[in-house]
Amino acid sequence: MTSTELRDWPLWEVFVRARRGLSHQHVGSLHAPDAEMALRNARDVYTRRQEGVSIWVVPTAQIATSSPDEKDAFFEPAGDKPYRHPTFFHVPEGVQHL
């Protein structure tokens, strides 16, 4: 296999906006040599049934993520703050519009 084979095509993550008013959602990934081809391939692979009005493609290598191993420590600060949810508070009987 030569150096220009698929194996050198970078991986792209594909995000599709289903319709106006919604945010782009991750739908999957694909290989493509450049952004333009990634967009064309994404159209053919992920929107054959008008699933979208807009596509983003992002080089997979450019995305940073939190690690699952550090899940607990990383998200721990939010764990002891249930008062951030309105349901934390007791509302006396009969109170309306609160």
Partner: protein, 330 residues
């Protein structure tokens, strides 16, 4: 703290004695939650998934051939456009599945090489020839019907990327099955010769379709472990029975018969009992001795080779543009 995205960062197999990791994996499965690519997983779980997803992806790609055979000879422009859309979907399904397999740490190139070298399998059904236009109907109704039966439980498979790919595939497959049913219905209610053509296709595809569910439960080597890991949700025989029960009344609407003299309703269970499946034939075809095995792989290899210049040109163009952009930026 930072790494590649969740879907892409392959977790390294941990030391087997790392029981905390194994416990957490087992607990996730037990709670019916999904395993995601960066989670720790036992090597055998990973190997099983790679084998199954790759085989599934290869089946979609090889499965384009029997139907591709009739695109140029479809009886009307509309039928032709529909068949092309269906075959294109199959390519798409192959892509979703290769992507899912890649999250397990294999590359698509590796998988394609293994397929072309005959080291990974694809569904034995695609080694049968498509002799008439009615075969497009029988494939859609029976082969896609059996595939859907297998795939719907996989939308709840414990491995997240595979389950998500299956949701997408299942949505698209129902068009495939209906178009097949419609082709058969039209032929069956057409001229005598057309009816006969439809019946002939069903006669040839019925038994191989039943084989698509895999060997009987007591001879299926991977079933127990795959069920425990919630990769599989039903056994081969359970799904096969459900398929037969659904097909019998549909065949009546088609006014076609199923080629099984032993087929009869078992009143107490409400299930249809069916005759003996020729497992020798199944094994023969799986081993490479079916009617079209060699032709299918040769065709796939040729298509891969003949597409090489396109892949190379696209890569060369991308490299040239990247260099030009670098010069501009400098």
């Amino acid at each position: 703290m930072y790494g590649l995205p969740e879907e892409r960062n392959r977790s390294q197999p941990a030391e087997p004695e790392d029981t905390a990791l194994r416990d957490s994996f087992e607990a996730t499965i037990a709670a019916d939650e999904r395993i995601e690519p960066r989670d720790w997983m036992p090597d055998e779980y990973r190997t099983t998934l790679v084998r199954q997803i790759a085989q599934h992806a290869h089946s979609e790609i090889i499965g384009m051939q029997p139907e591709g055979n009739w695109i140029t000879r479809a009886p009307s422009l509309q039928r032709k456009a529909i068949l092309m859309a269906k075959v294109q979907d199959e390519a798409g399904h192959g892509m979703y599945l290769y992507s899912a397999a890649e999250t397990l740490g294999v590359s698509r190139d590796q998988l394609v090489e293994l397929l072309l070298a005959g080291k990974q399998k694809y569904s034995s059904i695609f080694n049968y020839p498509t002799l008439s236009w009615a075969d497009m109907g029988a494939i859609g109704w029976l082969v896609d019907g059996a595939a859907i039966m297998n795939q719907i439980p996989l939308t709840r498979c414990s491995y997240g990327p595979y389950a998500r790919a299956m949701v997408r595939v299942c949505k698209e497959e129902s068009f495939h099955q209906r178009q097949g049913f419609e082709i058969l219905h039209t032929l069956s209610h057409g001229t005598g010769a057309q009816h006969e053509m439809a019946q002939d296709a069903v006669n040839r595809w019925w038994w191989p379709s039943l084989m698509m569910f895999g060997p009987p439960d007591d001879e299926s080597p991977h079933t127990a472990q795959s069920m425990a890991w919630k990769i599989k949700r039903f056994t081969n025989d359970e799904l096969r029975q459900r398929f037969v029960d659904i097909c019998v009344p549909q065949a009546a609407v088609l006014e076609l018969t199923l080629p099984d003299p032993d087929l009869r309703l078992d009143e107490p269970t409400g299930n249809y009992r069916y005759g003996e499946i020729d497992w020798e034939e199944f094994k023969r075809v799986l081993k490479g001795d079916g009617p079209c095995n060699r032709q299918r792989l040769e065709h796939r290899t040729r298509a891969h080779e003949e597409g090489r210049w396109v892949r190379e040109a696209a890569a060369a163009y991308a490299a040239k543009r990247a260099r030009a952009e670098e010069r501009l930026a400098a």
